[in-house]
Amino acid sequence: MATSVQRWWHKLVWPWSPLSEREASEAIVRNLWLHWFPAKVSGRSMSWSYSLWLGTVAASLFVILTVTGVMLMFFYVPSTERAYGSIKDLQYAVSFGRILRNQHRWAAEGMVALVFIHMARVFFTGAYRGARVLNWLVGVALLLLTLMLSFTGYLLPWDQLAYWAITVGTNIASEAPVLGPTFKYLLLGGHFVGQQTLLRFYVLHVFFLPAVVWILFAYHMWRVRKDGGLAAIEPLRAMRRAEPKEMPRSKSYSLFGLTPGTSVAVMSSMGLEERDQVASSPNLTRRMILVFLVVFNITLLLSLLVNAPLEGPANPSVTPNPAKAPWYFVWLQELVASTTVHLGKVTISGGLVGGILVPGVLLAALILWPFFDRSTVSAEGVWFARERTRQNVVFAVITVAIIILIIVGMYLRGPYWRLYWPWSPRPVLPRVL
């Protein structure tokens, strides 16, 4: 019985069973799931201490988000009248609905953090150089998409946070020169926040943005393979290359590789030798499953212990006091609050400076950075290479500045966005309207 089920399963996904080492590699390539992986992987690419497996943690979170998200779709109603109630139902009336929602929320916040930390890892290991520039750019797009997914996501409950975040967010968009107001009209589906707005953000959140992330993620992983594995192998590769030997040359394969200069024959052996590598399955796959399970369990544990926030229902006439963005956007809130500049008679709103120009400059820096990095190959794929110290310090300083702004916004801002020490009492305000 078991064997016939097994036979059928194999027929469906794996029409091949290995008899030799070589066939085992082949078998990986021919398996529906395993063909995602290269047949062989170097110990360095796979090590815990190099990549900290942060990308895989982010990917695990995204898998969790996709599954819990689709489940939430069975309960959530994207209507301004019923959205809030449907979230309340999940919270109080649907069996385990609260855990479902919590897990979606904590995985989402975790993903924002982890995608950023993964990027920091890539930066500090100088892993974006050479052919990997392309993957760095794909990564920047994934970071933006992750932020957009979060933004569109926390609007959906249609609570006070949602309503005022859309209001402020779309007003920042309308500060953009020339096309700003048109863009705001497009986002809102009108001049005011309403049903059209909710529906637009809903479709972006549940279909459009995740679809783009999935496609780019697949490309991101394909690039990692085409680039020969993680940058950690570069020092070893350079060493092997220096050893005198016959390199296979094959012009006909160069069509496949987007990477200039090396043929696929070289890429597939990663310029490494047999002894530098192990079979992806089970070595890589086992770690991957382990990472996924640990991530899943952490988000589940969090979901059992802490509830996702939900403010009062959206009220267009009263703004919460203070109205705070979620932690990963609160640094932007600090920026828009403090960057209005007066030049003589001309006033440039903080919405434009802190909401568009500063983030735009940061984004441009991320995109352009690899092209100005003049460090040598020896600084590639190693943590905190001495040669890159200056660059790493710049990255760290910007990161710390953002973290400081987040702390100020989260803990030191009280009513009317005034500064208070965390321990000083905040005034209890009568509801003056």
């Binding site: 006439s317 703004t319 006091n321 609050a337 903080g350 003056v432």
Partner: protein
């Protein structure tokens, strides 16, 4: 000559199919800019003038303040000129809960990121004796609508 005409026709054929494709995309994009909006009109009626107490009254439906001094009325927008949160009247000034803008009693910016003063809207008396506001018409600060004395 023969081939030339063919080439031209072929390009015309391919070109028109391609152009139709692009036009289709344009049309699809255009659909996202609504032609009909189900939005409230910019002109609306409030209460009767005599229903307002002296001083500042917040109207939550339209997000504005009706200010009364004796029988003079003016209306100040409660929508922060920075990024659109609702400001609150605190006895002597308007404060915004989102990024801390502060406006004086006339709506001029005292502090914070707001780039412009809070606008004043045109007020009039509708034939049925209610205050009527046109939020599409801003008026200079200091403009006021004076009710006939017997009304107030």
């Amino acid at each position: 000559m023969e081939t030339d005409r063919r080439t031209i026709l072929r390009w015309l054929g391919k070109g028109s199919v391609f152009a139709a494709f692009i036009a289709q995309i344009g049309a699809a994009a255009r659909a996202f800019f609504p032609n009909v909006l189900y939005e409230p009109p910019s002109t609306f009626k409030l209460e009767r003038p005599e229903d307002y107490p002296q001083g500042y009254s917040f109207n939550s439906e339209h997000r504005l303040f009706v200010v009364r001094a004796a029988n003079k009325f003016h209306v100040i927008s409660a929508i922060c000129t920075h990024l659109g949160c609702t400001v609150q009247w605190r006895g002597t000034e308007f404060d915004c809960p989102c990024h801390g803008s502060r406006f004086d009693a006339n709506g001029n910016v005292i502090a914070g990121p707001a780039p412009r003063p809070l606008p004043w809207f045109e007020v009039s008396l509708s034939p049925d004796g209610l205050l009527e506001v046109d939020s599409a018409e801003t008026v200079p600060q200091g403009s006021a609508f004076t009710t006939p004395t017997e009304k107030a």
